[in-house]
Amino acid sequence: MSLLNTLPDYVITTKTDELINWMRKSSLWYMLFGLACCAIELMHTGGPRADIERFGATPRASARQSDLMIIAGTLTLKMALRTRLLYDQMPDPKYIISMGSCSNCGGLFQLAYSVCDGVDKVLPVDVYVPGCPPRPEALTEGLLKLQEKIMSERWLARERANPAVA
């Protein structure tokens, strides 16, 4: 403590983990990727009223520039393979928010022949947002939860903090 006390006011001390996590959580660029009606709410969340850009989340058109994938809508089996491909194209660290009943568990359409019942069968999900569709407030809450989760990560840890098992 003696060292800290000698530092001038304009020097802030922190931990590496906290600094890195703070930078990561403050620029969660999400991929422009909507699958069904949840995408409308996703657009709303990026709009002026909910405005998740306040929290550093801005849409990117390319998987290679994104940190976050928001699965917004019904995931069909055909799309599931393509979603996995897009996920593989994202650079680490990468996160997934499963938005709405359909991507959580198949929702209304889980008995359909073409629907993948839940995105967690294909990809590791970090935050599940319930709702059909979730309101922009709910998705914002999901994003904040994800930021909390990111803040608990350890830089030297090999695995991410508790990714839900696929």
Binding site: L77, K78, A80, L81, Y113, C116, D117
Partner: protein, 169 residues
């Protein structure tokens, strides 16, 4: 023209190749012999009195003992419409394509092929349109059995309530 008088005109021209005319339903329809489909459709499109210039919808139905392909035709010139049906055997449903008459048939026939397995002879590009290309079976058939998994993705999801019950025991 009213649909029924259209069917009458067809009937007087094509005789027994028009198998049935039904006015029991809200929309009357005519059932046509599959081999006569192209002749009937060409006549419907090219006759100036009928001038069916639009295939507004084409779809298929599985009735367990047969598969029907349904054609909804419309004339922008005369503002009238008619419905044609073709009954096909379930084990080998084959019918001529009407893509040469109405280009809109291209995708609709691909969809019927995709979901019901009807082969349209002479179609320029008969591939699956909605389901993945490596999908097996025709999902809208009554006897379609959903595969247990697709590329390693299980297609059934356990109910979490059932899982909780099992844990209690």
């Amino acid at each position: 023209m009213e649909p029924l008088s259209i069917y009458q005109a067809l009937s007087s021209r094509f005789k027994e190749r028009i198998l049935e005319i039904s006015d029991k339903t809200i929309d009357p329809f005519a059932v046509i012999e599959p081999t006569a489909l192209l002749d009937v459709c060409t006549f419907l499109r090219d006759d100036p009195e009928l001038a069916m210039d639009c295939l507004s919808n084409q779809t298929g139905v599985d009735y367990k003992d047969r598969i029907e392909v349904v054609y909804h035709l419309f004339s922008y010139k005369h503002r009238h419409s008619c419905i044609l049906k073709v009954k096909l055997p379930r084990d080998n449903p084959v019918v001529a394509t009407v893509e040469g008459l109405w280009r809109s048939a291209n995708w609709m026939e691909r969809e019927i092929f995709d979901l019901l397995g009807v082969t349209f002879q002479g179609h320029s590009d008969l591939r699956r349109i909605l389901m993945p290309e490596d999908w097996e079976g025709y999902p809208l058939r009554k006897d379609f059995v959903e595969p247990r998994e697709y590329h390693g993705i299980a297609t059934v999801r356990e109910s979490p309530i059932v899982r909780l019950d099992q844990k209690k025991k």
